[in-house]
Amino acid sequence: MNDSDLDFDPEELAMLRQLFRTEAHDALEAVTARVLATGSQRPNAETLTEMMRVTHTLKGAAGTVGLDAVVDLAHRLESAFAALGRDGSQWTAATADLIVEVTDGLRGYLDQLALDPAYAEPHASRLREQIGRIAAVPVRDSANDLRTRDSLADLGRSPSELSVPASGPEIRRDSLTDMSPADSLSMPTVTELGESESVVEMLSGDITAPEPKSYLRVEPERVDALMSSAGELLFDRTRIERRVQLLRTLARDLARTRQNLRDAIGHDQRGGRDRAGLSEAESELASQAALLSQTTAALLDEIEALRRTIGELQRGLVRIRMESARNLMTHAARTLRALRRATGVRVELRTLGEETEFDKAVAEQLVDPITQLLRNAVAHAIETPEERAARGKPPTATITMRARQDGNLLVLEISDDGRGVDTAALRARLVATGRWSHARAQIATDADVLEALGSGVSVRGDADELAGRGIGLDLVRQTVARLGGEVKVSSLPGRGTTFSLRLPLSTSLAQAMLFKVGGQVYAIPAVHVSETTIVEPGASTVSLRQAQMPVLRLEALLGGAVNSERKPGVVVSFAGKTMVCTVDKIVGPREIIIKPLGPLLAPLTLYAAATISGSGKVQLILDPAQLVRRVYPEAIGEFADSTSAPMVLAGRALVVDDSRAIREAMTSMLGREGWIVDVAEDGARALQMTRQLRYDLVVTDLEMPELGGFDLIARLRKDERFKTTPIVIITSRANPEHRRRARDLGVRALVAKPITRRKLLEALAAR
């Protein structure tokens, strides 16, 4: 079929095919998971039916988007599964491996098809050949035929309608019933079976399609971009916090200056106007100092709120990226299968807690550690079948992989039922390699000894191809530590070993550009890095995209070697200012985990945070705001702004309105008039706040949930402290009745929304 035969325009078709590819990958992964879950055993009828269902759905979807070659392959695969279901004797030890190979191959084929369909055919023919080896099935080559007929439906038809090759097994009508328990009836393709009445009859009765759960398909990149922005908020917050700390210091200094001035006036012998003038200046200074410290205190509260919001945002985003442990377990099963083939060790995987959810980014980082632990187990832990028999263990060993959530931790355990760690031998090796003193080895508990496993010490003296256990474990520990977690080892001699990877539920990940200066690696958040370039020796500017950018020599700032070579440059932007930072070497973009620097390093504003590399080294993250400031000292205004008029402290105001926009607008307007503003979203909250603090002005809306404006004012007026406090009502509906009540309650003014600065000033000036 040509693409033009389809009902879609080319763009739509491209999008649909993209969607199909994602869906197909999931479907094939599901088939793989099912095969791997059964080990080399023949899957039961239920599993086979599910595999058929998935393949069948895939076939239907491929037809819809006009991928006939995929329709053909899916049909063949479905038929092969059907054949396996009918005739159990077709299942051999190699079948599972072959199916996994085919599903993996199909996924590669789909990707190839998307890239360049012209080169996809050799893949298809190899796949056809492989599928042919899974099971002997009736083969039909006409794609048209496949589109109108349907192998599941075929199964329900009478044998006479089918073209069964003489050598092939007979397809009997009841073969579907053999394989499909009731739950397979809820399959979405059920309607297609309508061609044959007898089948419908058979299916009727208990079709209970579960309510479909709706999912949103989002490209991972979009979520990653959001995560990265949220990570950036963390840096922004740190910057603001530092600034507020400076303001606090300033407020303290100001208060001290005022005190000094006051003392000086006290001792001053002058009288009359001079002295009066000084006193006046002193009291002005006092009110300014008070305003500054109150503003700073308010700012700190707001930062706290910001901190909470950022936290929630990040947790929410992490939840979006959560995926079940199933993918990790499927990976483990595949790895173990390969290991089994390579070594001949008889071992099975048992999985528990597949539904436990992990941050996708964390799960991806765990792939290598899991592979390493499985290799270790196969290479070292599992005894020969003879040894196992001697100990009364089953000849086939079991590795158990279990995921669970434990409070704030995600725990992934990998246990084997092998020989366990010989702690006495390990103890001896620790001493023999000079890592431990005799004294230390003597007092150490077995747990301490196990803890040392992985710090480069192996139980075996030699390291073989599969796993030099000591080094491998070291990497496992480092990867887990980088994710903010730890590895615990427990072992029972002769019974087996358990490695338990304990990880935090969420991690702050960010995209960053990494580079080297003076032998150390540094990072800058990727959102502030637009590109990289080359800086000529001695150049103080670089022209890039018709703009001249100043150069900041990072080697001079970070103590690297200053020489006259051409250097790579990283283009950094912050707050609209762009510059080029010279570095020794560009490492490249990476996903990093953000670690706070702690209070001791916080005063070093050049650094925003730190991260820990794959090998466990600390790498400092530079704050782009500080870098830009070094090149554009005037760019980001310092707080001493001499041109603005001195602000006079007006007092503390409470704004009550259920609209956030109005609250923000009022806060900004009143703030400009010298008010310190607190806000409440309804009367009840306002009342609560007035119990704790006294306000010099209350601005309230009338219609609010919980407690309305008039009720709030009435209650406030009963409070001795608020008897005469100026109150202003802001409302969109002011009728005569409202005006009368407002007058009775001693409200200073009633302002109609929308509020303007002029209206507000008039209301405040009213008496």
């Binding site: 670690k595 005063p603 070093l604 466990g616």
Partner: protein, 140 residues
């Protein structure tokens, strides 16, 4: 009246010190030490301690007794926690744990030699002062 203190006794160069056990979270061998340019000599670098960032301090500088060598991978360190701040003190040798009598800010070990008793809270305060003033000089 001398008071009994549970201390850990250690040496940095020729100087011998004691610090009360209640401040010591663990004794570690330092991993890779990352230098922090712009930091004062009191802050020798930062280390990865079980996934958190550990600043490593120079006791000599903090006590105005002269700087020791910069911390390097493989050096010993005491991990101290005071007022919620975690830091490492680079040491040359950890001797032993003992109960010693304190008189006027110093303790005397079993052999009768005097040891400087460290007060982590004051050390940290001093470290914060030094780091803060280093930043001011960079900013101007």
């Amino acid at each position: 009246m001398p008071e009994l203190r549970n201390v850990i006794v250690f040496a940095i160069g020729a100087a011998r010190y004691a610090v009360e056990l209640r401040w010591v979270r663990e004794v570690v061998t330092l991993g890779f030490v990352t230098a922090v340019p712009t930091a004062p000599p009191a802050l020798g670098g930062v280390c990865n301690l079980h996934g958190t960032i550990l600043p490593v301090l120079d006791v000599g500088v903090l006590l105005d007794q002269g700087a020791g060598p910069p911390p390097r991978q493989g050096d010993g360190a005491l991990v101290i926690e005071a007022e919620g701040v975690l830091c490492g003190l680079r040491v040359d040798q950890v001797d032993h744990v003992a109960s010693l009598f304190e008189t006027g800010g110093s303790v005397v070990d079993a052999a009768g030699r005097p040891l400087t008793l460290l007060e982590p809270e004051r050390l940290l305060k001093r470290a914060l002062e030094l780091v803060g003033s280093a930043q001011e000089s960079v900013a101007t």
